[in-house]
Symmetry: D3
Subunit: 223 residues, 6 copies
């Protein structure tokens, strides 16, 4: 049942770039508040913001063999998404694998498990979002699959979906919704720019969003 | 049952400033080792140290409507304290709300839930202590209360209590104890300065604090 | 049953230095993938990398008396390892104790509990790996032991074992295995340097490690 | 700062009995959805349902001395509420202390920590709601307070407040609200009895509560 | 974006019954070790073992409105699967909703959140697998969807998939794989029956499974 | 580095029986309050109380091969102790392995991981203390060791140490301390029997243990 799917459809590069610029919070809202991975997925260093198509890996606990298999399936701009088949925080990934991915142009790693060599990874600028930092080594005994649907940190990911990641976490945009999500993100940004201006001038959200009447209708009392 | 209490008593500004300078660990000790929020309340960036009167918000899970209501109740120097009525880590708060609070002179946010736009918040210098960083959006459907007593991260907070927060966490000083706590904090600092000098000169705590005899009486054996 | 063991055997300094340079991930692998503390042991600031012989402390929950006792047993280059007898995250340790340890040349603290004054500790450059940052104060009522075997974050530690710690976590090298571990670490580093060069030149791990045949034998299918 | 408050006001017995019969879920709702302790407070055996005035204990981590002090303050029908000053799961309480409390007519124990001898406690029928079952022993070195306000599992408890506990958890009813809460609980039960009858006859909540129109107004689509 | 899908395809009843008899562990293995929900999904009482087609509910945190909507979509033999859009442990479900579901022939509830009235649910025999027991009440303000794909406790669930649940947890069988999974489960059971007989007669797994040679080849040494 | 140690020293049977009768809480206290595994180690069913010499297994995450190897090393009266080399909650163990162990007279299993078939295990009366109930299957690819020192749930265990387990958890008694611990346990039981009688007659611990004076000396005030 272990397979490597070699040809996956990827979204248009310009759309991916656009989503990266919008960032996780905006994209998540623009999609109708869905697609987020759980909050335990944290970046190993602050400041990275990126997007790319997902190359997915379904992997055994404590066994990183399939990451080596997945490297070959990655292209310029991809993001590797690794989901163990049962909860695990072993250190599946370190600097050597990052070197290999960087050579292929991979932008980052999303892994619901552990990672190590984090100082080196920061120095060479390879961003990772993970569940843990843990040096625990892994074996190469059990096979899994590459480019199959996975659930990672409670988000369903299909190969080729757009991963957006920044300091706020990780969001998954289904490939078919990428264009619409980008448009909705831009609309949201435009609206927020207008709101930002008014808030910085001292207007209250209560007035900008017309909330006072609704609050009174709900029964809110001022004392 | 949802109310907004509009007039709360705030502590004297000079006392608040003094407590901010002393920091969480000193203030907590000076109060008799109480008032701390749980250790899962972490700053979104390192280095902030501040104090201010609490404007409290009791809020529904996944619903940030009452934060908008609370903004209007804040004054220069306040700290917003947000406590969901059941455990939640949704991202109730981001850069736009921070802009609005900054315009009113609010110094920071304490929230036992999630927060988002953390890179932007760091850039504009609005400090937050939260349970999680999570982009998950919230709705505006359910009302709550502003300036009522709340329990936040297992600390009881009354509106107008002094919140002290730094890299060590968050401490709550009841308004009525603020002056006495500041005095006790200063006394503790003076004593620690003296101890610091002796420790840096190589004296041992065993001798400075006169512990050897008590340890022997308890039965400690050196082998 | 509470004792302070005053004379412990320490490993050779040159070996300790060598292990520090190799870092946690390499040393853990070189020992045969063992000796790691759990991943909840995190550094209070990034970038520290060090090694030293362990001075161990078995300590009561919420009571830091024995840390004062342990200070006297520490020598230049040591690392203090503190293990509460039941789970606790109180702030056993802060800047004053760090001053005292620094005067004796102690390199760092490993504590499966909480620590406070973390901003000060970063400023004076005293590295700590802990389970929590928590300002909660402790008492001085109950004795424990110094330089007895402890279990810290699920790693067994004997006094005089080498502690290696960096951004990846904390590893314990039994004193008797220190020399062999250093040699194995150096061998691993040499091999990794070679692999790094090949990966950066674009070779795949699949080929470098000769994995393709084994994967096929396991039944991996490419589709 | 350690005190034992010897005279506390207790609620009327008939009200307490009434609240016990209503149970946690009903009482919590009748109070306006507040007063619950966190869900990690679990009964050591199923089936107990009780209520009583709180005798509160603020206690050091790993130190059960003050429980012995508190026993003397308990009367027939009371419930002991024990809150450590920092998170702890040590086994503060076992069969012997239960015997002592039972002799005084105490109905049960609520403790945000550990408990032991759970098989014996079940056999003698002394109910406990705790954060953990843990045999870890405690010391008697540090004093605390009896009958002071505490926060227990994120619920604020005043001495004399009514504790209601059953398989669903633990709820705190402020003494001043006990009568009104009982009345509201009875009203809720009457209403639920009516609803139960209709649901068991096959009517839908959608119709009983008149939800269809509101759902349509919110935009719910049936496809 | 909130929809109620009214017609879903359900698996054949005989297959569902067969899977219920096999139980979670066997079915999970027969599917190739996948489909399990996380281990925090626990039954509220021991001994229930069942299977049925999933009616799925995507629901807001702290808001159980959509469960009322979902009831109407349920048929004899179904299992309700409720997944909040962000982590929540509020008590979405109690005895009244269970009465309503039982009237429609629903077999049980799977909810990655809290549940209450657990004593009543045990008495009336309505089984629930949940993340928590928590009496916290919920509101009816925000709509969600019924019979859309959800991720529940890190398992992807499509409406009409077969849910199998027992004391070991919860497993999801995609509808299209139900027949093949049942056949594989029966094959596994037959094989295990044979193995059971031999193990109970004292043969060792080492011999039954022919492991000795492979272990020696891996380098296992007996000393 | 993987070995199976075939001959281990076991404690005298009468001592083991004696410790079983005393139970975890008494034995832990009699040893000087040490040896406990963490509180997340819970029995799969209530009421079992047993003791036996440990046969230890160091095992890879998600791989139960070495349990099959360990079965052969077990004798009448032993207890199997399984510790994964990194945190894992997979279901390493079920009814078939239990049958095999029961045939050899093994009394129970202690595993810091998951277990499955828990209903069957209860029916056939094979007690297990585990970190989780989880049906997740494991592989047989990676070897480990049998009868080497392990750390299990933060307790150090040597092969042949006495494991004591009941509803309160799991305690480890070093073989060399078994006789002395049994004697101390009996002494403690005798003393507790006396205390029990007095407490049940209404005497207070405050008086039995002579605490009043010490409390006054510490500064406890009655108000």
């Amino acid at each position: 049942m272990s397979v490597v799917v070699q040809n996956i459809e990827r979204p248009e590069a310009a759309i991916v770039e656009g989503l990266a610029e919008c960032g996780v919070a905006t994209v998540h809202e623009a999609m109708g508040r869905k697609g987020l991975m759980r909050s335990h997925m944290r970046p190993i260093y602050a400041g990275a913001r990126l997007a790319g198509p997902a190359v997915t890996v379904s992997i055994a606990p404590g066994d990183n063999w399939m990451i080596h298999v997945a490297v070959e399936q990655c292209r310029e701009g991809d993001i590797l998404v690794v989901a163990p088949t049962s909860p695990c925080e072993d250190g599946y990934f370190g600097e050597l694998l990052a070197r290999s991915l960087m050579h292929r142009g991979v932008r980052g790693l999303i892994i619901e498990a552990g990672v190590r060599d984090v100082r080196d990874l920061a120095e060479i600028g390879f961003p990772v979002w993970s569940k843990a930092v843990f040096a625990q080594g892994t074996v190469k005994e059990t096979i899994g699959s590459v480019n199959v649907p996975v659930v990672c940190a409670e988000a369903a990911v299909q190969p080729g979906d757009v991963i957006v990641a920044d300091d706020d976490g990780v969001c998954v945009v289904p490939r078919a919704e990428a264009k619409a999500t980008l448009d909705a993100s831009h609309a949201r940004e435009a609206k927020e720019a207008e709101t930002r201006k008014r808030l910085m001038a001292g207007e209250l959200g209560l007035d900008i969003y017309g909330m006072r009447e609704k609050l009174a209708a709900k029964g809110l009392r001022y004392v």
